[in-house]
């Protein structure tokens, strides 16, 4: 008895070592989430030097308009990608599935299939391999969403179908169910609602997120992981209404003629002016949110720990020059290989 235990103790670390030695470094990939597709030189440089093989490109969103599922924000493609495999991503609001019956869902799946087939050749000459769906489904919509996924699988029989999985869907998987797809992407961010988060960082609070993935190793599906490299400002107008403005970090708000700093990452607007495409007026309030490299490393370590020995890829959200310049290529490599 005693000997066996010792033997196990002895063998275990070596075993681990072997695994980690044998595993080649995995190259990360990126989400592309903008409405106009064009890759600029900085972005190209990151893609090249990180040996990125896959790019997850949001093609369009599905929302409910006039009680009908409608595509919005369809991507406008200005150039072909000849290097990476393109994986079309379709975002569907949860509200959409609340409004649809079986026939509607079937019709929607056919439309989506056709739209992807129409857009894909504009962006890539490689054969289409995988399609991803992004929906924050809940207990009340899981049946409809899963039926949709099964339908699309039948319509695209040769393709891999994947789906994004949010933190709460990992933790409460018995209630929300497990989507019938080939693989998933764990979205390791959005730990809070940015419009009500208070002082918390709504993009990622590592302590909060860690609570949600305790059972990650038991999740019955291959999971890649998406990590946040985005930033934004939460802007509040005079009547307390809030909206988000992407790509804003503290250093953009350093002009004291335009902004008065009221806290670590909070400001009040002093003068009417445009911040990107949004017109700001005096008395509007701003809170910025972003994730630093150290936090991303902790996040990656926690995921590695919970994911046990399962290999996975890291997908950064999202590819954009203004995001990239805050993370070095070397660090992004470390984060995707913790």
């Amino acid at each position: 008895m005693y000997r066996t235990t010792v033997k196990h103790l002895y063998i275990f670390p070596v075993f681990l070592l072997l695994i980690s030695c044998r595993q080649p470094p995995t190259e990360p990939s990126f989400y592309f989430w903008e409405t106009y597709y064009k890759i600029d030189s900085t972005e190209k440089q990151y893609l090249q030097q990180l040996h990125v093989k896959k790019l997850y490109v949001r093609f369009f969103d599905i929302t409910i308009q006039n009680r009908r599922p409608t595509p919005t924000g369809i991507i406008r493609i200005s150039e072909k990608n000849e290097t990476q495999e393109i994986i079309p991503v379709v975002f569907i609001t949860n509200e959409t599935f609340k409004a649809l019956d079986k026939d509607d869902i079937h019709q929607l799946a056919v439309h989506i299939q056709n739209e992807i087939n129409y857009l894909y050749p504009i962006i890539s000459d490689l054969p289409l391999q995988e399609v991803q769906f992004d929906c924050d489904w809940t207990t009340s919509t899981s049946q409809q969403y899963f039926y949709f996924l099964q339908t699309i699988q039948k319509l695209l029989p040769e393709k891999e179908i994947s789906a994004t999985i949010r933190l709460h869907q990992i933790k409460y998987r018995k209630q929300t169910g497990i989507p019938p797809v080939d693989k998933g992407v764990l979205m390791y961010y959005a730990t809070d609602n940015p419009l009500t988060a208070g002082d918390n960082n709504s993009i990622l609070e590592n302590k909060e997120a860690a609570k949600y993935i305790k059972g990650l190793a038991r999740y019955p599906m291959k999971l890649d992981v998406a990590l946040p490299i985005y930033s934004w400002a939460i802007i509040e107008n005079e009547l307390g209404k809030k909206r988000l403005l992407n790509g804003i970090r503290e250093e953009i708000l350093s002009d004291t003629l335009l902004y008065r700093k009221t806290g670590k990452n909070t400001y009040i607007v002093r003068k009417e002016h445009y911040l990107q495409q949004v017109l700001l007026y005096p008395d509007f309030r701003i809170k910025t949110e972003s994730i630093c490299t150290e936090d991303l490393i902790s996040a990656a370590k926690e995921i590695r720990k919970q994911h046990k020995d399962t290999p996975y890829s890291t997908i950064y959200f999202q590819l954009n020059e203004t995001n990239l310049k805050h993370y070095s290529i070397q660090n992004l490599n470390i984060i995707s290989n913790p």
Partner: protein
Amino acid sequence: MKNRTISALFLLIAFSDYGKACSWHSEDEAFYNLFNQELISDQKLEPFLLTYDNIYYNGDFWNPAERSHQQTDANLEEWNKYFNQKIPVKDLQYLVYTSTVTELQAFLTNNLAQTPNSGLTYHAALFSEKGLEALQYLIFAKQCEKYALTQDNSDGWSYMGAREKMSKPEFMATAKAGNTLYATLKNNDLKLRTAYQLVRLSHYAGFNDDAIRYFDKFVLPLKNQSLPYYYALEQKAGALFNLKKYAAATRDYIQVFNGAPGRQLAVYTSFLMSSALFKNGGNLLTTNAEKTTFYMLRGYNGFASGISEMKKIYTLSPNAPALEVLAVREMNKTEREILMQPSPYSGKNIFLKGDASTQAYLKKLLTLTDIIVNNKYIVRKDFWKSYQAHLHFLSGNYKNAESIANDISGNDKQVNEQAKVTAFAAFLAQCAVVGPETEKRIYSYLNTHKEKTTEGYIYELTAHKYLQQKDYAKAFLCHNDLSGLYTSLDLKIIDQLITFYNKPDKNNFEQLLSAKQKNAMTYLYDLKGTHYLKYDQPENALVWFKKVPGNLKFLKLHVYDYISDTETEKDGDFNGYSDISARIFSNGIRPYFEDTQEKAMTDQVYKMPEFKFIPAIMNKQQLAECLIALKKMAKETTESGARAGYLLGNYYYNTSVNGYYRNILFYEPGNYYISSLYGLNNTPTTTPYNYHYGTGIIQVNHLQTAYDYYIQTERVSNYNELKAKAIFQASKIELDQFVAKQNFDYNFVYWENPRILYAKNTRPLFGILKQKYSDTKYYQEIQSNCLYLKYYINN
């Protein structure tokens, strides 16, 4: 800066939203809109008033672009003018919109009275010189059309709606034909239309420079600013936008907005597509009309600071309609906060108060409005005074609001009416007590004003004030008929209602309130009796039931059919008073709510001779009498006493929340879809704002009483079969009480960990059943019917 924006829906993926109800919710009906936005002077700007339910104000939900006052087709009217009204509108519609190139060519060349199978109809006007030119133009326009229109039924899918692509040779050929036509045509209007076609064709084919050139060389020299001029200008603006000449594009778009009301929504949509127009657009605007429109559209954006844009417009042009549009919109935004309908689920209500940011915003609006009202060049003084009065009302300065509003009596009837609404709203808000004098004024106001939303405000506030002054009956009747008491049977309200309905000299408003319920006294006596029944006081109940007609019935089942969207009324299992089955004293091993009474309640003990006083069908008075008699019998330590106790155990269990007759004390016609017990917050708010959402649900369960009677039966009786029945029924109560004590969702526990429900400490009575009564017939019967017991025994 790169010209690419992140998808707006990225916001949505960032957080999950569990709480949203799936049913349709109207933002525009969630508050009391007391200030009429339609008071603006320029009716053409109505679509730009504030709404959150539709894309545009008064826009049809299914077809938001359509608006009632824009039903007239401006383009067709132009054509009508062109033909001097000599062609009926129906024929004109076919000619302009439906006919094909082939049809028109056949029509033109054959000069036939009517082309076979065509909708085209012969009119002499068509074959005049002017008419023939028009036909020539239409043939060309229709050749261009396929390059300009997307398929109508694409629903936004680009694979379906792709505009037909134009090759360079095709463009050259079509443009050449257009050039020739332009040179040939004599009529100035048709020349303009042809020039418009050329501008549009170039714009859509991607030849933006050509589009601008055609406009300058073909459109401008005609000096014709009729409708097609603005169509062409809009196309040119699109071309300028493509060339990133945003300031020029903005100037042209704004001119289209001001010159062609029918294109206003389309122009605004262009502004929505890209912020570049707003951001870089102001520089080339020259006239005040252009600038005020620009600021209005910028302020129209829901997130903008309307007050800041109002100030800019005021400085330029104090009488601009654009200022009024923004003013009423900003007011409407604050009304949505201040006059939001109080929630039944929140103890803290801010009705009439609003939050700090809304109050601060109101102050800003008031400061500007004070300046406007004192400006002697302002034309619509009364409009602005009524606006000022209403701002005072929303800010809680009721005296100011009233005095300013009462001072308005000009020629504008609508403004005068608005002033009356504001004055009355302010009067009511500052009333400390609603007494006879106030009631008189409310009545007279309601009698002369019929707007639903003002009426809603009046009842909301009056009911609140009644409640504060403990006038429960009147507070209740502001929003309810007596059915509003079914779920609570609140005695303090019932008692006051009895006094109120007995009051002989009701004033007009009181009569209006009392009319909410016909034949009130009968129902009030029934409610009071039922209250006592619910609280297990049958003697007290009897006193009131005796005042109720024995055959009273009033409840109906409303069955909604989803497919046909119709509701039908039919008899339910319970009519409200007089059709209670004696089976309420029975039980079953495994009754389902959807079972018939016969199937669910199989136990026959209540039919034994000593219970012949129990009628097969009872009214509530008889039920109370039976309960009194059974209670008396149950006190005896005899077999009859044991059985009476057993019947009482059944009654209390059956009328509890999980019992088969749970609907009786909640006035539900059936026990299956029992809306009042489930799906709603069970306990009434301790301090409701008023009784707008009913009186809450008060649960009174007598499970312990039922349990005690069953245990007493087992103790007193000498018959094992009866003992076994009593113990088994009592064990159901063990389960109910166990679940009620746990702080979790029943379904969750049931599916996640059924073992908890079979554990020895959860169901100790199962142990007794097995130990003492396993040789009874009943034990065998339940074993084959009750999986719980089977599981328990086998473990």
